[in-house]
Amino acid sequence: MKITINAEFCKSCGLCIDVCKRDVLEIGPETNSKGYRAVVAAHPEHCVGCSVCAVMCPEGAIALKK
């Protein structure tokens, strides 16, 4: 399972974090060029590929591979 978040697209809205039942995601430490602290996969190993994070992301910033 590989989850990637496009940090330049992410607006730190937190919708993905909210829907992820596995606590994979969290707001990251870095501010992107627009001033948003992009989400990072803090625990990628917990990810089960359920995709709901991607389904909710308004930015299409999340990509998932298996």
Binding site: C13, A54, V55, M56, P58, E59, G60
Partner: protein, 246 residues
């Protein structure tokens, strides 16, 4: 590795111009996914409204025609009648569709125009800064109803699916919510159905998507979803209002 989820090709390669957590982004993404899935990128015309939906100019990697405010269904009528082979959708906010453009949506629906309308109901005029929309809830504050919408002065939220269902020609009319993954997945099904019906020449299809406006609601993206469940979704029941051949 196999892709479980990939960014659709029918989106341009940039962040949206929407505010953080705005469900316009989800709607836009869903549409782009479907265009990809139907392999229709080169044959699609997106008819965009005036409203935050105008920003779709930055997002859809398809042909685009931007309409004057509210005339979106009239423009889409001109587009589709001139190019019946295209997959045509109009994308409209509640100000655009239910206020200034009410005559246009009703008449396009009544003529049974063969395109798909995607209606983003966020209960406010997002782009202009949060004025009352026809779908603003009773009691909901806006910059033009500072004390909350008072039905004695400004009436009740307009239920567009219900109203349009009074017309005979429309082929498919349904309301979904974008508040959670399960509902987003349902919404995509409704959109797919609409696009497929359009491709089969079945006439007017209409998908209302309950949405949010974190900026003008003055709530965080997550609070917005909560608010939608407790308020918007109670006032606007989800469901399929029309799905039959006449």
């Amino acid at each position: 590795m196999d892709a479980l989820y990939e960014r659709p090709k029918s989106l341009t390669n940039r962040a949206t111009a929407y505010c953080p957590g705005c469900l316009h982004g989800v709607a836009t993404r869903l549409i782009a996914e479907l265009i990809d899935e139907l392999d229709a990128r080169a044959d699609t015309v997106a008819v965009l409204p005036v409203g935050c939906g105008t920003l779709g100019m930055f997002h859809f990697n398809t042909d685009i025609v931007v309409s004057p405010h509210g005339r979106t269904p009239a423009v889409a009528t001109g587009v589709k009648r001139s190019a019946p082979e295209k997959l045509v959708f109009s994308y409209q906010g509640d100000g655009d569709l239910a206020a200034i453009g009410l005559a246009e949506i009703m008449h396009a629906a009544n003529r049974g125009e063969n395109f798909t309308v995607i209606f983003i109901n966020n209960g406010t005029y997002g782009m202009t800064g949060g004025q009352m929309a026809p779908t603003t809830l009773v009691g909901q504050k806006s910059t033009t109803t500072p004390e909350g919408r008072n039905p004695a002065e400004t009436g009740y939220p307009m239920m567009m699916c219900e109203i349009l269902s009074q017309l005979r020609a429309p082929r498919y009319i349904a309301r979904f919510s974008l508040d959670c993954p399960a509902n987003v997945i349902q919404a995509k099904k409704g959109l797919r159905k609409s696009f497929e019906l359009q491709r089969a020449g079945k006439g007017f299809t209409f998908v209302e998507l309950l949405s949010n406006c974190p900026t003008n609601w003055g709530l965080s993206p997550l609070e917005c979803l909560e608010w939608m469940r407790e308020n918007t979704m109670k006032a606007f029941p989800l469901g399929v209002f029309r799905d039959r051949e006449d």
